[in-house]
Amino acid sequence: MSLSVDFDRVTVQFDDRRALSDLTVHLDGGKIYGLLGRNGAGKSTLLSLLGALRKPTSGRVLVDGQELFENDVLTPQVALIRESPDVLDTDEKLDYNLEFAAQMRPGWDEPYARELVRKFAIPDDQKIDTFSRGQRSALGIVIGLASRTPLTMFDESYLGLDTPSRYLFYQELLADFMRFQRTVIVSTHLIDEVAPLFEETLIIDSGKLLVQGETDALRARARRFTGNAGTVDEVLRGEQQRGVQQLGSTKSAVVVSDRIAELDTEGRTAGLEVEPVGLQDLFVYLTQEQEVAVQR
């Protein structure tokens, strides 16, 4: 079982700033989504709405077609593991935290939780407040996975985890996703590490959706063109150039465009070097826009 998600013209206004601005997004159920955005872009606010932790200032947040906030039937099926992670009772030990999770989550899988605890080597004889940051993150991940909630979200849940533990997280997330298909949203800054896990990627910036699509398809819409500055500008006329670098008469620019295939051929014919762009670079170029504009 998995849940679809709809944001219908959602705005979240804080006292001092607008975190989300008239956001409309649809996510099909049963996929792993990557949610990317710079700090302050609105990722955590978006996820807190889906965790039913806050109500939007205006607009509707729908899960499985129904308004989520204060919906008794839906909220137990939704889990958000965010930094610290705040699902943990730090005055207690491991067993208490697992017992609490088991009480609250109808789909809780105790043997699986214990298996993950072993794999992540989480200590069971000390209070959570003596845990390292990585151990806390690991326990948050265990609770997020073993809850088996049809909509599960991890908001930078990897903080403090070393590389092997992060790979263990990715591996377990994927394996359990294949056993029990659900809707998963992962917010991260370690894009290259996790990108192959995402079926779709969403990039938000300044509270707005910048792009959404299959990760491969997004990458396929971008190319870096390098060569004689005049030729680059000629080929890319009318297109927005991003991540521009110039060295003497050689210029390099990234373009994200629906006409990318055309531009690719045109560029090669004109003798330019045309290269694909990775998701992480694409993210950087897409979200850098404003600063580049200011510099010009």
């Binding site: 955590s44 807190s48 965790g51 039913a52 932790l53 806050r54 109500k55 906030f69 204060e70 919906n71 008794d72 039937v73 909220t75 137990p76 099926q77 939704v78 889990a79 958000l80 965010r82 930094e83 610290s84 705040d86 699902v87 009772d89 017992e99 609490f100 999770a101 009480q103 609250m104 989550r105 109808p106 940051r133 806390r136 909630t149």
Partner: protein, 241 residues
């Protein structure tokens, strides 16, 4: 998942009654130690229950503290685990009465145990000050007095905690109302302690246990209902490590 019934406070009760029992045990040991020291150092014999004084003074603010804790610390975690604000309110309502009664019974247990120790020590076990119970034969009165004082204190604790999460400026209004409410209950019980001394100087109602019980229940319901209103749309903030 059955959402038509109010959620069970079982785990919450187990945790908080166990903790209250530990706290009561510690307090009891201190009280007995004080009685022994008093007996040795003073020329007078111990002739009244120290426990009754301590527990009637300490238990209500303790319950207030638990109310605050449940809202400020426990409530966000329940919401993070998929509980709606409404269902948490229901859980707290179902928790309030057995918890207050449990605390009152712990108070009674200490009092009865103290009377046994006093008898062995050869001390007189009277109850000082004004209380509903006159001796250990009045156990139900002792429990009733504790129960109806603890209950509204707990409810106001929950309200204060909710206001702390929601709209902190409301505390300016809520705290005096709380003092007034629990003060009136104490006065109606004919107790000469408890908060609200300033009220007493203006208005001193005729003591009536029946009205006290009624008022205790009414202000508990009112405080918990206000807690519900304050938390209706409250956002659960991220606690950065």
């Amino acid at each position: 998942m059955n959402v038509s019934t109010w959620p069970s406070p079982k785990l919450m009760l187990r945790d908080h009654l166990a903790f209250a029992a530990m706290t009561a045990g510690g307090l009891f040991a201190v009280i007995i130690a004080i009685a022994v020291v008093y007996d040795i150092r003073s020329s007078d014999d111990v002739d009244q229950s120290f426990w009754a004084e301590a527990v009637t003074g300490v238990a209500p603010p303790y319950a207030l503290g638990i109310g605050v804790y449940l809202m400020v610390v426990t409530f966000p975690r329940y919401v993070l685990y998929g509980e709606t604000r409404k269902r948490f309110f229901q859980r707290i309502v179902r928790f309030s009465i057995p918890f207050s009664l449990g605390m009152a019974l712990l108070g009674l247990a200490g009092w009865l145990l103290e009377s046994v120790i006093y008898r062995i020590a050869g001390w007189e076990h009277t109850i000082g000050g004004s209380h509903l119970a006159r001796s250990t034969r009045d156990a139900p009165h002792f429990v009733l007095e504790l129960f109806i004082t603890i209950l509204p204190w707990f409810a106001f604790g929950a309200l204060f905690g909710a206001i702390y999460l929601g709209r902190q400026s409301l505390l300016i209004a809520a705290i005096p109302l709380g003092v007034l409410g629990v003060g009136l209950v104490s006065m109606l019980l004919g107790l000469d302690e408890g908060p609200g001394g300033f009220v007493r100087s203006v208005f001193e109602p005729e003591p009536s246990t029946a009205i006290a019980v009624l008022l205790s229940l009414v202000i508990t319901i009112a405080a918990l209902w206000c807690m519900r209103i304050v938390t209706r749309d409250v956002a659960i903030q991220s606690q950065k490590a």
